[in-house]
Structures are given as structure tokens and as C-alpha cells.
Amino acid sequence: MTNRILGLILIITTVILLIHFDLGDSQKKCPALILGLILLAAYCFGSLLEKTGLPRIVGYILAGLFMGPFFLNLYSLQEVYSLAFINKLALAFIAFCAGGELRTSNLRKVLKSIVYYVSGVTTVVFIGTTLIVFLLSGAMPFMNDFSLILRLAVSAIFGTIAVARSPSSAIAIISETKAKGRYTDIVLSVSVAMDVFIIMLFAVVISLVQLFIVGKGGLNFVLIFSLLFQITVAFLLGFLLGKLIVFLIEKIHVEFPVVIIAMGFIVIEFSHLLGDYLHRVFDMNLELEPLLICMAAGFTVQNFSKHGDNFLERMDRISLPIYIAFFAMTGASINLNVLRTGWFLGLAVFSVRLVSIYVGSFISGKLAKNKPKIYKNVWLGFITQAGVSLGLLTEVTRRFPEIGPSVQTILVAAIIMNQIIGPIAFKYGLKKVGETHVKRSP
């Protein structure tokens, strides 16, 4: 413990002195320095926090936040944004791992539960959040002049975003706690399935909201069909990528974690570029979901080759620096000004979501005939929220510039709370059901 504190002090003091005495070029952007600082300091902070029983990733998030512009100001938000490619690499890596963790043998055992949880939790969270936000809409200044139907439409956006989960946080906690078991499989599978499901739900809701806000459109079947098409293509591409990875493992014996991360990065860049191209040339909003491709690739390696466990084991070896960088940067990019402005309504959305998740998962678990130990605790694994929700929010802002920023302020505040509370709750849940530190079968 002393060593970690000493290390942390030394790292942070060095950078403070560097800035204070103007020893470096203050104009020069140094991504390597920020990344090194984040890796070492967040690691120390995470390890220290672990001693208190909290998950390390909360420590990483808090360290990123603490060193950022709102406290120590060791780096600016712009500098953090300049490291976006690291986030992309990390996301790709996490998606590969999430896919790899899904074993068909285990999925078959929990398939019924997954179906119940996905449908049950989605329904309750969507309806619950939509309803409560609708009831609270009078307290939201930007909705004061809206008609009731318009208020309901905007509330549905809140409901949709509340459904989103964070497979990345789930996989990081599973990796940290070496968790294994039915509870773990359900939480991970549901989180991944929700990632697919939320895209569809979002498309339906957005096209309906557009009808009320902009006054044109209707249920946009073209949009829904194109999303279905995207998901299918993403799965197919993921399968092919998975087969390529198997080929690399078998024939070239490459240092594949590094290559796989690079592949993930390429997939993400390629998807974005393709999306831009289609939008520019054909005015089509078709962007392949890159994380789905990576997840499908990981799933293929796990279930359509004999290298699944080897793949996961070797990915696991390099996972720690990736998780640290990803979550610390998530913390570093938290805008506390937004939290200050929207904390009250954010807290309301956060609370409603929490209750809805509890109710939804309790009912679903009972219907799926899960053991009480599972259905009473599974909600703890569904709280985490991060990237997907923020991505959807960006899309909301882009489509509805008149309400987007206000919706964003409230929801970002709620997402920040979920980001911090979610991992703590999931780790607690895993401990409660006794699935932490299970030795994995070779």
C-alpha cells in the first residue's frame, strides 16, 4: 500500500513540478506523457481503492477525473480527446474479449434467461423511465412549451437511452474479479445482447419522435431495414474476421493480441469511413456497427475454433493496461460542468432507471425460473452505462438540435452516476452470488 501511495505521489508531483516551473514546452501536446501518467497514476489509485473493496475500474475512472481539468489540471479535455484513438483501440479489444467470453455451451444453458431478461428489463426500464420523465417534464424548463404528446416523445428518448448497458464495464469487472458462473454469463450475455437490441429500439423510437418533433415522417421502415441490414453485415464481417484471426493463430503464430487490437482499430476506422462515404455520396446514414463486428469475431474464435481459451488467455495477459487507459480516459473526459448543471434531474433519471432495472430483472428472473440468488442480484450487473449511451446521445443531439443539448446535459449526468455506481454494484453482486475468483478451466 505504501509503495502505491509513494508511486502515486512521485508521478503526480513530477508532472505538477514540470507544469509549475515551466520546465517543458507548454504548447507542446504530448500524448505519450498523458498516457504514461494515466497508466501509472490510475493503476496506483485503482490498487489503493481495491483495498477498500471497491472495483479497480472505479479507481481508474476517479483517477482520470481527479487529474483532469476540474481538479489537478494536469491535462486538458482537448488533450484527452486527442487520445481518442486509444479509446478506439481499447473498445475494439474489449469487444473482442466480450465476444470471446460468450461460449455457446454456456449460452445454451442460460438462453431462456437471456430472452426473459432482455425483453423484461427493456420493457420495464423503457416504460418506467419514459413515464417518470414524462411526469417530471414540468420541472424541465426546455419542455415547458411542449404539448403533452411531444413531452411523451421526448421522454421516450430518455427511456431508450436508459435501456443501454456497458458491456465494456461488465467485461472489465469480470476480468478483474476472475468471475465465472451462471450469474456472470447472464449479465455478460444480456449486456452484449442489449447492445444489439438498443440499436433497433433507438431506430424505432427516433423515427417516431421525429414525427412529433419535426412533424414529418412516421415509422421509418427504411431506417429500420437498413439497421437490420447493418447488423447482419456486421455479424457476417465479424465471422470472417474471426476466421482470419484463427488463420493467423494457426498458420503464422503471430503475437496476436497486438495484431487483433490493430485489426479492431482498422475495423472501427473502416466503419466510420464507410459511413461517411455513404452519407456523402448516397446520402445514406448507414454505418456498420464496428463493435458488433469485433464481438462477432471474438465469438467466432471462441466457438468455431479450438483456440477459444488460448485466445482469451493471451488477450487477458495484456488486458490490464487497456482497461486502465480506457476507464481512466473515460474519467478524464467527464465534464463536471455538465454534472453541476444537470445533477438534480440526472439523479432523478438515475434513480428511476435503478428501480426499473430492479423491478424488470426481478420479474424476468422469476419468470425464467432462475434461482432467487440470481434474480435478486442480477439487477446489480445491469447498472453500468458508458460508450453506447453517449454515442446514442450524440445522435440525438445531431438529429434534434433544438432539444439535444438539454437532453444531453441531464442524461450525461445520469450516465456519469451509472459509470461510477455500476461497477461497484456489479462487483458487489458477483461477490454476493459467490462467483468471484473462480479458477477457469484450461
Binding site: D25, P31, A32, L35, L37, L39, I266
Partner: protein, 412 residues
Amino acid sequence: MKLLITIITITIIALIGSRLTFLNRKLPLGFRNIIFTGTEYIFIGVFLGKMGLNMIDPEILTSLEPFLFFGLSWIGFLFGLQFDFKSLRNLPRLFFSISAIQAFLTFLAVTPVIFFSLKTFSTLPERTVLILSFALGSASVCTAQSALAIVSNNYRFKNRKLFSLLHYIAGIDGIFALALFALTFFIFPLSGNIKFNLMHSLKWLLLAVTIGIITALIFIILSRVKFSQQEFIVFILGTVLFGGGLAMKTNNSPLLIGFICGLITANLCRHRLRALEMMAYSERSIYIIMLVIIGAGWKLDSNFILIITGFYFLSRLLAKLAGVFAATRSFKSDFHVPWNTGLGLLSEGGFAIAIIISFSLFYPSLSDYMVTVVIISMILNEFISPKLILSLLEDPNPIDFREQPDITKKNK
């Protein structure tokens, strides 16, 4: 899109390269020196760079700059880790003395030759000429082990002690090259056209040493308690990035800071070998990417630099020859050291590349000259080195790999 294609290309090259490089392939000796010793990646870089397809253009090279700081910091750290004083003390002092003398004599011989040839054949300002002479002088000191490795992997020979001496020098003379390279930065401040100012230079040196010590301390402190392999990767990556980043921020050499950090770690951390093993594993990929980048940034647009290259090559050859001759005649050895032993030290890869990349980061306007001279000289040296080493060794016979027992069968 261009960046994406570049990343794909470099990834594929690193992927294939990390499997093929330095392997013992059955190729004619001269060809083998170029292919599979690493030199080929410079050509690949040239092909992709501004002299070829222009896929890796100056803009992309700029965006890859942080990677160069990281890579150099890694190489410096790894190099420093090899110098643990306990082990070094067990090696013969004679070897160290010969290494030091030949290194300094090489520097003292090459630097003035480059200075006067540049003064004669170029119109560069005097300060530039001095900087280039010092930098090239320090790069000339480096000896790579690639040619020695090719010879030892493919030939049997008698005088192992002489071979050990060559191997030792090739392993250690980078330390003198680095010290002399640091001297270049010390004498010629990095920011703009500032004249030599002792206080400014001392501040620069003090900062480099302090950062090196701090990063080493961080590594040592973090690795004092029990840790997993995953955590060890975080310590190494974090330390290298932190050191490289601080170097970038303070206009310092990441190679030098990394080396200081590695040197202290090697002597105060009990996990030296573990770190060495882990870092050496990835060194190849980093090295390949750096070679590609250096090749990509290379542009040959001044004819006079070819003349300078000729002078550099010849003066280095003669200096190595004379340096080792003088050193071995000053210290008596218990084995026969031929007068022309210096010819076994011409191979010039690895650390010289790190030095020119480090130089290019701070003197981008001079990097083409430096790269041209060192790369051409390196290629020439890679071609002739194995033959020259063989000429020094007694009774060298190619190993017939067919004679070797099949170990896998035996194990079965």
C-alpha cells in the same frame, strides 16, 4: 483514409516482419545480410515514403512522432537494463578498455573528417556542419551484432575468445555512442539557434538525469510488492511512456532518458531479468516500425551528401581499424588479436538507427543528411561485415545443418 491504409500496411509489415526478421535462412551470405537482418525494412520504408509511393507522407510522419518517442524510450530503457554492474564487473576489464578506446578514437577520427568534408563540399552554415559532424561521429561509434550473429549461427571456428571480444565491443559501445550523442545535445542546445550556454546545457543535462532517475524510481517502487504479469506490463509500458512523454515535453532525448532509467533499474531493481525478457520480446516489432518510418522519411536530394557518405564510410572503417589496433596494442591480451580486428566491428545497425531517429526528432531540417549518410553506410557495412569477420577467424567452416540431430525426434 490514408492514415488507415498506412496503419494497415505497417501492421502487416510488422506482423510478417516479426516472424521473419533475423531468422537463419539459407540464402547467399551477402544477400542474407540485407534480407532478414532488418535492413530491408528501410527499403520498404523508402518505397512507402516520400521517395516512393508517398503513402507515409510528412503529415503522417508527424502524427507518428509520439510513437517514435515511445519507441526510443523503449530502446533506451532496454539498452540500459543490460548494464547491471554486478555482471559487468565479472567480465574482463581488458574488454571494456578496448571498447572504450576504440569508441573514442572512432569518434575523434570521424567527427573532424565529416566536419572538413562538409565544409569543403557543402554550403551549410558552420553551426549546422558542427552539429552534423558531432552527431555522425557519435553514430559511427555504434557496432551492431547482426553480422556477428550471422557468422556464429552459420560457421564453426576456433578462436572463440576473439569472437567474444568482438561480441562484447558490439554489445557495449552503444553506451559510448549515447554519451557522445548526449554531448551533441549538450553543446548545441535544442531550442532554435541558441549559442552554447553552459548554464542552459547544464540545466538540460540535469533535467535528463532527473527525469531518468524519477522514472526509474517509479518503476522500482511499483515493482517492490508482489505483482502479476499483467501489472508488470503496466509498469513497463507506463514507465516507458512516461519517460518518453517527459522527454518530448522537455525537449530531451528519449533515448538518453530511457537509458538512464534502464541503467538505474538494472542496478536497483530485482526484476531486471524479467523486465529485460519482456521488453526484448517486443523490441523486434518496435525496431521494424522504426526502420520503416526512418526509410519513409528519407529523401535524397543533395548530391554532395553522397560524397560525405563516402568519407564517413571510409573514415569509420579506418577509425575502427586503427582504434582497435591501438587499444589491443596498449593492453596485453592472453589470446591472439590480429592487427585488423577492427574490421570485425563495421556492422552498424540497431543503436545507430535509434540515434539518427532521436536526432531527426530534434533537428528535422538536418535529418535527411544524417539518415542518408548512416543508411547508405549501414547497407554497405551489412554487405561486407560477415566476410570481414570470417577473414579474422581461424579456420571457419560452414555448419551443415543436415548433420545436426533432430532434437524433436529425440525428445519424442
